[in-house]
Every structure is written in C-alpha cells, then in structure tokens.
C-alpha cells in the first residue's frame, strides 16, 4: 500500500495544483499587468503605478464602484430581512402553498439572468416607471431574496419544533420565542444567505444592464461599455481581488481563532 500511495498522492496533488493554476491564471495575470508601464497586455515593459493613478482619477469608474457596493449592501440587508421573515412564515405554511411559492421563488435563480432582466425591464417600461437607482435596487433585491430563502428555509425545517413550544411553555409569547429561540439557531444560515446575496448583487451585470436606465452604472456595466482595451481595469480588478481576499480571510480565520480560543477555555 505504501509504494502505490506515493505515486497516487503525487498525481492527485499535481492535478489539484493544475486546476488551481487554471483558476488563478487570469487573476494573477491581471494583477501583474496592472503594474505594467505600457498599454499592452502581452509585453511587460516596466513597473509603474500609472494605471492605479488613472483609475483613481477616473471618476466614472470610481462612481460605478461606489454604486456597486452601495446597491449590494442595501440589497443584501433588505433581502436578508424579507427573506428570513418569509422563510420563517413559509416553514409554517401548508405543504401545497409552500411548494407553489418555492417554485416561483426559484424562478429568478434557475431562469437565465437575461430572461429575468428582460421581464423586469418590460415591467418598468410598461408601467412608465423611470429606470434609475430605485429600479436597479428593486431588481437586485428581487433576485437576492431567493438565495436567502434557499439558505434559511432548510435549516428552519431541520429545527425540531418543540423547542419553540418549550419556550412558549416557559412563558415566552410567540414573538419572544421566535427571537430568543428560533433566530439564534438559524443565525449561521442567515449569515451565509446574506453572504451569497451580497456576492450575487456585487457580481451582477445582465440584470443591472437592463434595469439601471441612464442615471447609474455598476462596475460590470462600466467595464462592458469600454470598447478599446483599457489597462486601468486591471488596476480596478486588483483592488477588488485584494478587498475580496481580505473579507474572505476575515470571514474564515476569525471564527477559527475564536473556536480554538473557546476550546482552550474548555480544558
């Protein structure tokens, strides 16, 4: 078993490294070329912060980044609240009602983005609603809520019901039972639902493209509208890669440290 394992171990880790290389090739490529002196994406002619400078001077690009983050935050918070409340409501609904609503709920997730985008555009234009930041935010909330529900509802259904009944038996009114017993248990699901919603809103292009109208543009729309290849996008991508890496490290390392600390206290 020992000898064969050696080769197999080498083969599997080699394969995984290849996959990681493929996944991270563009990211590394972009980060490297964001410091390139010349415009070209093929020859690295010298180190310079030229593109970072041009990015920070490019108000249109910065505005679109600002809108992207702003709308992502608003959409995440609103959809998490509505989604969680709806999930709790649905978990107590009759089977038929729940399955019908869930079927509709999954439509924006399974349907191709462009169909959802078109449908929302048609809605706004037919009702003569002027497309702008409001319609864009409403659209984002609409496609974020399903992810929250899909992450919270299963956890809710796993909770054993008589925990809430026990809380009420000990004198807690339904509302208190909800906040004191049910929500703390599904907190991780709410959090992961919010994270998915944030990443979906932050990353969206198609739906924003059709529902944003003239006033506002998010990062994806700005990049899409650039005809000639503009290296300052590399600078922007590097900025986002750094921020995203920080957030993920924060989101994963902090709980790990806390767990290890808590384990130490237990001994």
């Amino acid at each position: 078993m020992e000898r064969k394992k050696g080769f197999w171990h080498f083969f599997t880790s080699g394969y995984l490294i290849l996959v990681l290389l493929f996944i991270y090739l563009p990211i590394v490529y972009v980060v490297v070329f964001s410091f390139n002196e010349s415009r070209s994406m093929t020859a690295f002619s010298g180190f310079s912060l030229k593109w970072y400078e041009s990015m920070f001077n490019n108000r249109e690009m910065l505005d679109s980044l600002k809108y992207t983050v702003l709308i992502a935050l608003i959409a995440t918070v609103t959809s998490t609240v509505i989604g969680t409340v709806a999930a709790i409501g649905l978990s107590k609904a009759r089977r038929l009602i729940r399955s019908v609503i869930l079927e509709i709920n999954n439509l924006p997730v399974l349907n191709p983005d462009i169909v959802t985008a078109i449908s929302l555009m048609l809605l706004f234009l037919s009702l003569k609603i002027r497309r702008g930041i409001v319609t864009l935010t409403l659209a984002h909330i609409t496609f974020c809520i399903p992810y929250v529900i899909l992450s919270v509802l299963p956890k809710l259904r796993q909770l054993d019901d008589n925990v809430a009944e026990a809380a009420m038996d000990l004198g807690a009114p339904p509302w208190r039972a909800l906040t004191r017993v049910i929500i703390p248990q599904i907190y991780p699901a709410i959090f992961s639902g919010a994270l998915i919603a944030f990443s979906m809103s932050f990353d969206d292009f198609v739906i924003s493209f059709f529902t944003a109208g003239m006033d506002v543009q998010n990062i994806s729309m700005y990049v899409y509208s650039m005809k000639r290849f503009n290296p300052s996008v590399n600078a922007l991508s590097t900025l986002i890669v750094v921020v995203v890496t920080l957030i993920l490290i924060l989101a994963n390392v902090v709980p790990a440290i806390r767990d290890r600390k808590r384990k130490k206290e237990e001994f």
Binding site: S13, Y15, L16, V19, L20, F22, I23, Y24, L25, P26, I27, V30, F33, M41, T42, I82, V85, A86, I88, G89, K92, A93, I101, I104, L107, L110, P112, D113, I114, V115, I118, S119, L120, L122, L123, S126, A139, T142, I145, D161, A164, P174, L178, S199, D203, F205, V206, F210, I219, S220, V223, Y224, F229, V233, L236, S237, I240, V244, L248, N252
Partner: protein, 259 residues
C-alpha cells in the same frame, strides 16, 4: 405557531409584483403583434413561427446548446477528479481548497472575462475556442463544489464495506462512490448548463461580435432592433428549453435514486 405564516405575506406580495407580473409581461409581448414598445393585444404566434422557420435562428439555438453542452461535459470531466481528490484530503486542507475555489466566484465575472480577453490577445484562436475557455473558467468552480459536497457527505464506512467485500480501490470507486455522487453531478449540471446556454456576456466579449448565442439574439432584438415582441418570444423559447432540461435532470436524479 400558525400565526407565523402571516409573516410570509409581504414576500408573497413582492414575488407577485416582481416575479410573476414580469413573466406575464414577457408572455404577453411574445404572443401579441409587434407594437414597437407598446402592448397591442392582437394575439399572434408569428414570432414563434418566424423563429422556428428561419434556419439561421435554429443554427444559433443549436450553437448555444452545443457550446453549453461541451462546456458542461468538460466541467464534469475536469471537475469530478478535482472534487474527488479534494474530498480525500485532510479536513483542514479541504476547507482551504474550497476557500481557494470560492474566492474567484466573488470577483466580478465581467472583470475575469476582461482579463481573459487580455490574455487571449496573445493567441490567435478561433472565437468558439475563446468563448469555450471563458465559459469553462467561469463555471468550473460551481461544478467542483457541487460534486465535492455530494462526495464529502458519503459515509466513509461504505467504502470500508466495499473493500471488505473484495472490491479494490478502483472497483469501489466505480460501484460505490461514483453512483452515489450522481446527485452532486446533476445539481452541478443545473448550475452550469442552464446559465451557459443563456450567457451573452462571455460570447460577446471573448467571441467578438460574430459569435452569436441565443442570449446575444435576445439582447440584439431588445436593445438594437427594439423589437420587444420577437425578443420576448425568443426569451420564452429559451425559458421553456431551460425548464424542460431542468425537469429532465430532476427525473434523471430521481431515477438514479431508485436504481
């Protein structure tokens, strides 16, 4: 506890306004005469007839399905071994690998596609190959994570039992791990094939203008030609294809369980 159900009323209102109504709009526009932007209530099926009668539209549809299919198959062939090897890693290494796979998913798809556009400038490839690379790149992490979740849920004892009954590592994989990971593959397919068929950014940015998929057609008839009725018809056709293939994979999934 029954009172809690009332909590979902606001959401029911929300989905009827922002999901059901819009889909109805698409349906209305798809089956009415062209009224350049305004809804004329003359019922017609001419848009569907126009789509299915013109060989070019069908070729576009076929190209979309073909590229999506190749992408999905390639993602499975490349993704499955990766998911299997990750599942065999030690606990901490596994969480690290999954973290490394999810990180790119957070970065804007546009920016990543733009990066590929820069990279692919060095090579003189056919548009279809460029689009294929872009698609595989975008969808591979989803596939790997779906399959990995399915494999890591398997009870280790099943493999021990298989060894015990005389099956070596390869036979155990073929007869136990693989069949039980089929649900993971199927949920991976839904997360890759469906968006791939309808993608219109990757073909547009990497395939140059000419590589037209069905998503581009819809964009063209809505934004360029301003023909909302025909655009809606195409969207409806695509939505129906998606729902049909989703239903197919669900049945496949259920039958896999019964076997």
């Amino acid at each position: 506890m029954k009172s809690f159900f009332r909590m979902s009323y606001p959401y029911i209102l929300w989905i009827s306004v922002f999901i059901v109504a819009p889909m109805v709009m698409i349906l209305l526009y798809a089956v009415t005469k062209t009224g350049n932007g305004t809804l004329t209530f003359q019922f017609t099926l001419e848009h569907f007839a126009r789509f299915f009668s013109d060989p070019d539209f069908l070729r576009v549809l076929w190209t979309s399905l073909r590229i999506a299919l190749i992408t999905t198959v390639f993602c499975i062939l490349v993704g499955y071994p990766a998911a299997l090897f990750i599942a065999n890693l030690k606990e901490r290494a596994q969480t690290l690998m999954i973290l490394l796979l999810t990180l790119p998913m957070w970065i804007n798809m546009l920016l990543k596609t733009y990066a590929w556009r820069g990279i692919l400038m060095n090579f003189d490839l056919e548009s279809e190959v460029k689009v294929f690379i872009g698609m595989v790149y975008d969808f591979l992490p989803y596939m790997v994570i779906q399959i990995h979740t399915a494999i890591s849920k398997l009870d280790r004892e099943l493999l021990t039992a298989s060894y015990d009954l005389g099956a070596n590592r390869w036979q155990s994989f073929l007869r136990v791990t693989l069949p039980l990971s089929v649900p993971g593959i199927i949920s991976g397919i839904t997360l890759v094939f469906l968006p791939a068929v309808s993608s219109f950014v990757i073909p547009k940015m990497l395939g140059g203008g000419n590589y037209v998929l069905i998503g581009n057609l819809i964009e063209k008839y809505f934004l360029v030609a301003g023909d909302w009725n025909f655009g809606s018809a195409i969207s409806l056709i695509m939505a129906l294809i998606i729902i049909a293939s989703m239903y197919l994979t669900k049945k496949l999934d259920r039958s896999a369980e019964e076997a």
